[in-house]
């Protein structure tokens, strides 16, 4: 047994108190506030970036690419190929937001004299969103926007994904792969990419010139045409045989395209026994016709409800159509709620449902378990089925 001599010491408390006072006395009386970590965090995730359109180019008969540069002293943050930007748009007096996959490469946002990012939107098709149509028709060089970036989990993650990538794209779903292809060609993304781009007709192909111009043996761009026109390349859908033909031993599949393609491709990949971790799916906006979504109450007559919106101590009553998510009702009434993914995934528009019945599609329910328990919803993916009361942040 040892001697417990020092445990007889009863002055310890005053000793450590004095040591602490001495430490504080040694501090500088100057303002030395500086926080490198927060500065980097802000640069990585700016609240908002002011941007201006510097170029509008047609990249197919039906698609236009817009180039944005930061203005007002703002700097574009780094992003990862496949991530998206959320743009604040003022359309006919209504302020809304839209997510667009960035089709330029990450290095282009951080290098050169005029760092930029690009998005590409399609026009003139029934399934094209009204915001995309508006952008296509109205945006011109010099227009300014508030941009929020980067967002999204649809990016190549070297610690998870195989270095052999097969991209399965349809429609404007080609855009994130354009970003990936350029980054690989630039030598800053270490992967081999084969893009299988499904289109009905060669006229539907967008960014073809840009993708063909990428001169890099690690990037392969294959059009797959499903329509009747004569075409020398791959014909048909993105079937398991076609997918297999272009796959390596261990391949990660990135899927981005319209809903029907997504369902088809998912089945084909499952038939090939691709493990779930090798399949990355981009989220795609809210269903255009919610009544067709699985689980929607049968024979529910479309109706306009009263939506009571609580913000702080303020209360507003607005109209909300059962055919539109709560986010859209808020936007129509000029109430800002902020939304990013508009697919129910990111939770940026998280709101408290104080009362009322709502519909949330299962594949648009990205909520946390306790949020379901406590009645929180993601407004962009929540449709009213009765009069509702919600509480949202003051913005």
């Amino acid at each position: 047994m040892k001697v417990y001599g020092f445990l007889k010491d009863v002055t310890g408390a005053s000793r450590v108190t004095n040591a602490r006072r001495k430490l504080i006395e040694s501090g500088s009386p100057e303002n030395l506030y500086h926080d490198h970590i927060k500065e980097v965090a802000r640069e990585l995730h700016p609240q908002v970036t002011r941007v201006v359109v510097t170029k509008c180019e047609d990249v197919s008969p039906t698609a236009r690419r817009f180039t944005f540069e930061a203005v007002d002293g703002d700097v574009l943050p780094p992003f990862q190929c496949g991530q998206y930007v959320s743009l604040d748009l003022e359309i006919n007096g209504t302020v809304t937001t839209r997510p667009y996959s960035i089709c330029s490469a990450p290095f282009e946002a951080r290098e050169g004299e005029h760092p930029f990012f690009q998005i590409t939107v399609r026009n003139g098709r029934p399934e094209t969103g009204f915001a995309a149509n508006w952008l296509y028709a109205n945006v011109k060089e010099g227009d300014r926007f508030d941009a929020h970036l980067p967002f999204g989990q649809f990016y190549y993650e070297p610690l998870r994904d195989s270095r052999t990538i097969v991209a399965l794209a349809g429609g404007s779903g080609i855009t994130p792969f354009c970003s990936m292809a350029k980054e690989i060609a630039h030598g800053t993304l270490d992967a081999d990419l084969t893009i299988l781009y499904g289109s009905v007709s060669t006229k539907d192909i967008i960014l073809e010139k840009e993708l063909n111009a990428i001169d890099c043996e690690r990037v392969r761009f294959v059009n797959v045409i499903s329509g009747d026109e004569p075409y020398e390349g791959e014909k048909g859908f993105l079937t398991r045989d076609l997918i297999q033909k272009y796959s390596g031993e261990d391949t990660t599949y990135f899927v981005c395209g319209p809903l029907p393609m997504y369902h088809f491709v998912k089945g084909e990949l499952e038939a090939l026994n691709v493990p779930p971790r090798r399949i990355r799916m981009e989220v795609f906006g809210a269903p255009r016709n919610v009544a067709e979504a699985e689980g929607y109450p049968k024979d529910f007559e479309p109706k306009t409800f009263h939506l009571t919106v609580l913000r702080g101590r303020q209360e507003d009553v607005i109209e909300a159509s059962s055919l539109e998510p709560l986010t859209v009702a808020l936007e129509r009434a000029g109430i800002r709620n902020g939304s990013r993914c508009r697919s129910g995934a990111c939770g940026y528009c998280r709101a408290k449902l104080v009362s009322g019945d709502v519909f949330i599609p299962q594949d648009g329910d990205g909520r946390r378990r306790a949020d379901r328990q406590y009645g929180y919803v993601h407004a962009c993916s929540t449709w009213p089925l009765s009069d509702c009361i919600i509480r949202i942040p003051i913005m």
Binding site: K2, F6, L7, K8, D9, V10, T11, G12, A13, R15, V16, T17, A19, R20, R21, K22, L23, E25, G27, S28, P29, E30, N31, L32, Y33, D35, I37, K38, V40, A41, E43, L44, P78, Q80, Q153, P158, L159, R160, P275, R277, R311, G312, R313, Q314, E315, G338, G347, Y348, R350, D365, R367, R368, R369, A370, D371, Q373, Y374, Y376, P393, I394
Partner: protein, 518 residues
């Protein structure tokens, strides 16, 4: 109608655990309280996120100080008193320490028997015969210090009363954990290492960790064990947030406070990033004093030089680097059998680990948490939720820029995954379904905390909790402004922060009483 009242009794900056604890207690006492939270979620780091429909804990979390329902410890008592209901799951074991270079591989369990002996003393005895008595004696001293600290949170005593009633605290207060373990206990080095493993959760090497804190933590953990919420940490945060609202607290998300308004040495309100000026005579602040005095107080001429000295002198504690993984096999297929494992690839030495935390990567001692082993329903069947954590100092990230950020964090994460893979004999990289890497920048982004510092200031010998308690009134440099987060008295941890918030509410209530009399 306006969004805010012109004036509240108290404005709480930050809706994390401390802020909510403070707000809910004040509201329970009939005060009119406004909480301003910059994020759109409550809880600060005590939160979760969803990837591909699967929810994951944001980082390593264990709730201490709860105890069993039939034998509640102080946080369970407080949450019960506040009527906060959370579905707790008990974590099966205390921890496993795996340190092959020392030949140590042991799993300890919490619990004290009716006769006053400790379960872990028997577990250590089984591998290190002849140590049971000393381990029991150590834990008994820890328990007495623990009880004294809790008592002193609420009471002021004379020196004589202290000495009579709280001898163990008084007599160990001047020493580090290492000094006490080395001099006062006859234990083999390996057993001391086993009993120091939990340093990870205070982020301080035992050579400079006050025995007071060591004892508090060991007792707390070994008496009651630890818990996780069935609905992830977000359930705990939501239960508290919901209770705040039930008690009449106005709780506003997405409100970043830019300025704390001060006149004649006392606070009178805040200004938010949105531009709202809101008034109150009392403010509980989650932002660190460094940030409060450095840029938030308006005008800056109201910041006393002594306050700046304080902020500049306070040594920042560790921050967090976690790799959160969702894996495509169940735990047993990945050789994961314990909820919480501390593993060291070099001889276990907290001083060395601490020094390693000043640099980026090359970290020898990692902690892994496998949530499935406490909450089997946390993932779909056949999957594993695993996090790997090290607690570096903020300075390790001084050289990291936005441009190299993603590459750097992946490089460090890969090294950590490789180390755990080699311990498990399974390459985890072959099983990753989802991965998120959390750095101090992530902490700064989501919580706004100074330098991503979620652990407050160091619990070192020259910044001991005993000294903090003694000087708490001297350090109220601006009237009406109270610290309310891990940089406050008790320091870091979820239970500690709930306690920090409670202490902040007591300080405000006392000050209110005093001023009402004056």
């Amino acid at each position: 109608m306006a969004f805010y009242k012109d004036k509240y009794d108290v404005i709480v900056i930050g809706g994390a655990l401390a802020g909510m604890s403070c707000a809910m207690r004040l509201a329970g006492e009939g005060k009119d309280v406004l909480v301003l939270e910059r994020h759109n979620l409550p809880g600060g780091v005590a939160t979760s996120f969803v990837r591909g429909g699967i929810e994951m804990e944001a980082t390593l979390h264990e709730m201490m100080s709860l105890g069993l329902r039939e034998d509640p410890l102080y946080i369970r008592q407080y949450l019960d008193e506040m009527k906060v209901a959370i579905d707790w799951l008990r974590v099966p074991e205390a921890y496993e320490l795996y340190s092959p270079k020392d030949g140590i591989d042991i799993e300890l369990h919490a619990g004290r028997r009716a006769n006053g002996t400790w379960v872990c003393a028997d577990e250590i005895e089984a591998k290190y015969p002849g140590t049971r008595k000393e381990v029991n004696r150590l834990l008994e001293i820890c328990r007495k210090v623990y009880e004294s600290v809790l008592f002193l949170n609420e009471h002021k005593l004379s020196k004589l009363e202290m000495l009579l009633g709280h001898e163990e605290l008084v007599k160990t207060a001047g020493y580090s954990a290492k000094e006490v373990l080395d001099v006062a206990f006859d234990l083999p080095e390996d057993v001391k290492k086993i009993l120091s493993a939990y340093w990870v959760y205070v982020g301080q090497p035992i050579s400079t960790l006050p025995f007071t804190i060591y004892a508090f933590l060991m007792a707390d953990y070994m008496i009651g064990g630890s818990f996780v919420a069935r609905g992830f940490s977000h359930e705990m945060a939501m239960a508290m947030q919901n209770r705040c609202e039930e008690l009449g607290v106005q709780f506003e998300y997405r409100q970043e406070v830019e300025k704390i308004l001060v006149r004649d040495g006392r606070v009178y309100g805040v200004r938010t990033a949105r531009g709202d000026e809101i008034h109150a005579d009392y403010i509980a602040s989650a932002p660190y004093p460094n940030e409060v005095y450095g840029r938030m107080i308006e005008p800056q001429s109201e910041v006393p030089p002594q306050a700046r000295k304080y902020a500049n002198a306070m040594p920042m504690s560790v921050t967090n680097f976690s790799v959160v993984l969702l894996l495509d096999e169940p735990p047993e297929k990945l050789n994961i059998h314990s909820y919480s494992v501390f593993s060291s690839e070099i001889p276990f030495d907290t001083d060395v680990f601490w020094a390693e935390g000043r640099k980026l990567g090359g970290w020898s001692c990692l902690s892994t948490i496998c949530l499935n082993l406490a909450n089997p329903e946390c993932t779909p069947q056949g999957m594993t939720s695993l996090s790997i954590t090290f607690l570096p100092l903020p300075e390790a990230f001084d050289g990291v820029s936005a441009d190299d950020y993603y590459a750097v964090k992946r490089q460090v994460a890969k090294e950590m995954i490789d180390k755990v893979s080699s311990r498990l004999g399974v390459n985890l990289l072959d099983h990753v379904v989802e991965i998120e890497i959390e750095s101090p920048m992530t902490m700064a982004h989501y919580t706004g905390m100074y330098k991503g510092g979620i652990y407050g200031y160091q619990h070192s010998m020259d910044n001991s909790v005993v000294g903090r308690l003694e000087d708490v009134e001297r350090e109220q440099y601006i009237r009406g402004l109270v610290s309310c987060a891990s940089h406050q008295l008790v320091g870091d941890g979820m239970a500690c922060n709930i306690n920090n918030g409670k202490i902040a509410s007591t300080m405000i209530l006392e000050e209110m009483k005093k001023e009402a009399h004056a």
